[in-house]
């Protein structure tokens, strides 16, 4: 009886996710091959995949999305390391109240991406807050002189929004590791006379490496597949992959479904691939060196 109880407890969750999530994904998977059509004949075909691979707009979209994701994630990571560094120095020298600083840096986490995009929009758009401020201070003549940072071809507004939202995530994930590293390795640092900055870059940072790397790939995958930010802060062309998918969904006909699903599948597999990477990093680094983080 005890044995079966286990499965009974687990079953609802597994069935629920199986039915309402996996089934949907599976449907999309099949539809991308031309099966399970909503209208018309269902037959297995790779045509839709071929079409997509040959489509210029797909590659432009893919390139744009990739560049946006890689640049945002990388800049975010670099800024995060900088912020973790100053948080570390603050732990030692107490320039500002640690808790307050941390709360402020982590505040963007409480804002959903939709609203975050809005905030960046009103801040940086040509008729936005910064522009108005600069006009009021006389730095520029009028708002038309303000650079175009939102809804721009390079996706600068998008990147700012992502950096604002993802840096706190990386920092938040790394700080507990930093604290553990500090408490465990402090004595060693004292005995071997390791300076504060040296300690950070030669001891703490390498030990935080895996955590930072995992956060990097989590963010990379997220940005790659996300919809809201590029939808609000992007331009008509090139579109982010998720935005392109949505447009086909809402404006395209049912005939276009398979093509839509092809894009969805490609997005999903890139995301899954990133997930696998994160898992491997976790296994290889964190597992092997468990002692160092305890």
């Amino acid at each position: 009886m005890e044995k079966i109880k286990r499965y009974i407890y687990i079953a609802p969750a597994v069935i629920f996710i199986g039915v309402f999530f996996l089934y949907g994904f599976f449907q999309g998977f099949l539809q991308s091959f031309g099966l399970y059509r909503i209208v018309g004949e269902s037959s297995f075909t790779l045509d839709y995949y071929m079409e997509t691979i040959k489509s210029k707009s797909f590659w432009d979209s893919l390139l744009f999305t990739s560049r946006m994701a890689v640049v945002s994630s990388t800049v975010s990571l670099l800024i995060s390391v900088g912020i973790i560094y100053i948080i570390y120095m603050n732990m030692e020298r107490k320039f500002v109240k640690e808790e307050r600083f941390q709360k402020i840096v982590e505040s963007p986490l409480l804002v959903p991406y939709l609203i975050a995009s809005y905030l960046i929009l009103i801040l940086f758009m040509q008729s936005g807050t910064i522009s108005k401020l600069m006009v009021a201070l006389g730095i520029i003549e009028d708002y038309s002189k303000f650079p175009i940072l939102t809804n721009d071809r390079r996706g600068i507004g998008i990147m700012i929004a992502y950096i604002w939202k993802t840096t706190p995530f990386i920092v938040m994930m790394a700080i507990p590791v930093l604290k553990r590293v500090k408490s465990k390795w402090d004595s060693l640092a004292h005995i071997f006379n390791v300076g504060k900055t040296r300690f950070f870059f030669e001891v703490a940072l390498p030990l935080m490496g895996p955590s930072l790397l995992m956060s990097f790939f989590i963010i990379l995958a997220y940005i790659f597949t996300a919809f809201e930010v590029p939808y609000m802060l992007g331009v008509t062309y090139p579109k982010a992959l998720a935005v392109g998918a949505y447009e086909i969904y809402s404006r395209g006909s049912l005939d276009d479904r398979p093509s839509l699903m092809v894009i969805n599948m490609i997005i999903s597999f890139i995301s899954l691939g990133s997930g696998v990477l994160v898992y491997i990093i976790n296994k290889v680094f964190v597992g092997k060196n468990k002692g160092a983080w305890e």
Binding site: V105, L114, Y249
Partner: protein, 251 residues
């Protein structure tokens, strides 16, 4: 020394700039009046809350037993189960929503509260289960077994032994469920079809155009409620821990 302090202040200001812009732009009493005298606002709020609460109830019902087993027992296929539960976090949610939409239409679930709740639940379950697993993880089996030996029934054991112990994790997971449900846009739009209007959906036209009136008011309200939720959460979790420490009865 003081000079370095400026660096910290600059960083803090940079992070707070977007909030600052929001506060500035939402200083329009007329717009506040406009938004809050509109019946649509209240309908949207009600809808959002109903969906979130329903999602939470489903989460607790389905997720808690699953968490209790995952945290403490082994069984063949456990890794696969853990993977399945993790999948909604890895695969983009709209892929599933788009994929399952047609089936929902056939089942009559499209454009219904139930349909939207179901999709919200499947997206939030991983968060709830992960959080509750942590809570069960520190409980171990010993306490419950002790209760069994002393003759307490299953239900009693749950309420007096298990529940108090996992409460902080349950609260943390629940707030995450609510926050994630509140924030859903695309999935609600796809499944709800524009008939189920939650706050994000109501807000969208304003915020996507950079409207500095209603958009700001809605955003400000939304963020405030989010902050309040987190604040309440921290208070209650801390409160439970403090009570535990001083040995008080929890109820």
């Amino acid at each position: 020394m003081k000079k370095i302090k400026i660096l910290y202040i600059v960083v803090m200001i940079l992070f707070l700039l977007p909030f600052g812009a929001l506060i500035l732009e939402s200083l329009r009493p007329c717009t506040w009046y406009y938004v809050y005298t509109d019946i649509k606002t209240y309908k949207a709020i009600a809808t959002t809350v109903i969906v979130a609460v329903a999602t939470l109830i489903l989460n607790i019902a389905i997720g808690t037993p699953a968490a209790s087993v995952l945290a403490r027992r082994e069984f063949p296929g456990k890794k696969i189960v853990e993977l399945i539960i993790l999948l909604p976090l890895i695969i983009p949610s709209f892929v599933t929503s788009m994929g399952i939409h047609f089936t929902f239409i056939k089942l009559g679930l499209a454009e219904t509260f139930l349909g939207v709740t179901l999709i919200h639940t499947v997206l939030t379950l991983p968060y709830y289960i992960r959080s509750t697993v942590v809570g069960y993880g520190t409980l171990g089996e010993g306490y419950e077994m002790m209760g069994k030996i002393m003759g307490a029934s299953g239900l009693k054991r749950f309420f007096y032994i298990t529940l108090p112990h996992i409460m902080p994790s349950v609260i943390a997971g629940s707030s995450l469920v609510i926050i994630v449900s509140f924030a859903q846009y695309l999935n609600t739009l796809i499944i709800g079809g524009g008939r189920i209007i939650t706050v994000p959906i109501l807000m969208f036209p304003y915020i996507s155009s950079g409207d500095m009136g209603a958009g700001a008011v809605y955003s400000f309200s939304y963020i405030t409620i989010n902050f309040l939720l987190i604040f309440l959460l921290e208070k209650s979790v801390k409160g439970i821990y403090n009570k535990k420490m001083s040995g008080e009865k929890l109820w």
